[in-house]
Amino acid sequence: MLILTLLITRFLRFFIKLFGLGSGGTWPGHLALKIYPGILSDPGIAPSLGTLLISGTNGKTTTTKMLHHVLQRRGFLVITNSSGANLTNGLVSALLQGTPIFSKRRADYAVLEVDEFSLPSVLNQMRVKGVVLLNLSRDQLDRYGETDLILSRWEESLKESNVSFVVLDKSFDYFRNMFFPAGAEILDVESISEKLLQADLTSKFHIKNIKVLALSDFQAAYGRGEIINSGGVNFHLFLAKNPASLTTNLKVFEKRKSEFDALLFILNDNIPDGRDVSWIYDVDPSVIFSACKDKEIYVSGGRVYDMAVRLDYAEVFIPEENVSASVQSIMLDFRNMLVGRKIL
């Protein structure tokens, strides 16, 4: 069954690539799950040394990229779902990539970011060596109900699993009260000294994530503090999807006030963004005001006017002509818009 699934999905992936239909990050896995629903439990797709899962609200993509980088530099063959395809189909796609067919070498490790809500079902199905739990904050609650529910599901699935270690940050109250499997080693991020860290990543989340790995050279993941140069202008991209990450970003802007001239806010409400945009009011208005003060402010996105109103209530001045609707939520369009728009 596995061989058949592998053959079919390799074929599909080949066609997706050939015709430029996408990156092949989710469809092969989607099809594989249709043909062989139990594929995640099949030892045939497991990497030889183990699977590491990274989950939480903020920092999954960055941490996964860092961990992948570290293992690769140590000479391991590592597979990952770097495109952010973090639901079951994305995981299966990545694992299939690392599975040998004919003569290719089997991957040593799989480093996979997993959506918060998918983590329990993944843990139930596959053998996992280690789990990194980053943090849990109010994000996309409209999609998932409440954080309490996610925590209790994490706890339950970890208890049932036989992971050998869990990395987490005990400065979060909710982790302190969690019950973990007896056989697993629990590593607290807080116990790593700041002195060990050198990477120049700007926000608090990043620092905590670096602590997970304690490494020094690394390039930021897409949309997470990434810098793009176009026409002699540097565009710095930040992604915020909840009050915690927006606040962190705004504080970075305030600290580095002299390094930029304009700010463009893009607010969207597509399913990956979270349909509910109420959370923008959970950010302290004084933090918004200080970050925006004396800068040229632009606003866009599917929920452009909600963002404009929010900034307006925080007493941020926005020239009317700097407000325009309709930007697709996908990051590529975000990038195109920044490049195509005269900001400076």
């Binding site: 609650l141 409209d142 009011y281 208005p285 209530y313």
Partner: protein
Amino acid sequence: MSKLLIGYLYKEDLNLYGDNGNVEVLTARCFGRSIECEVLLIDKGKLTSHNRLSEINLLFMGGGPDSSQKSIYGDFLEEKKPFLLDYVTSGKTGLFVCGSYQLMGDYYRASDGEELKGLGIFKAHTIHFGKNKPRCIGNVRATLTGKISSDPVFKNVNFLEDRIVGFENHGGRTYLDPGAEPFARVTYGHGNNSEDGSEGIILGNCIGTYFHGPILAKNPHLADYLIAKALNVQELPKLNDGFITASYAASKKLR
């Protein structure tokens, strides 16, 4: 003009889905009109520590995740009930969003059958059907019922229309007792229970609702209505609401 004193219940524990923004909006809309406005935070503990309770003319309470609601539940029922009962029945102005709207009713029956007693001030009860019925999530719109829309004060401050827009996200479904008056009639979305078209409740000048957004950021006419009622004035000076009007218009098309 007199002063707006907003009583904000359990700010620390209940501030899910941006409901904090409601108080920010009220404050900003007073500030824009040079109306004096102050926020009095009321947290867990004895009410006797507050000596200005009687001066509060606008009361606000939001909702929170289950764990936070459990943490304030005992205090809400034991310490705050007499004050709230007196506040609502004396005709003062208040806004209770989501979780607090549910707790102001008779009871909340969880999906496992366990019943949490409410304050019994709002004549309504809430049932969580667990997996049998889906969560009520999404953009929502409703038309205000006559109690507000025919109020001359609302007509004076309303520069939009008789409708409100917002976002709802609740597992529990609320059913009003016969005779209880809904706050609005749903035109898009679920409202109280996704069955009878009702949304929220209005009792005297206190409103219970499932609308987030936050509701007052999305619906400035409602914010102004609450301010005018609380201050007992017939009208308010106009504000420059360009973006807000555009946001309201755009929200009417959301799916």
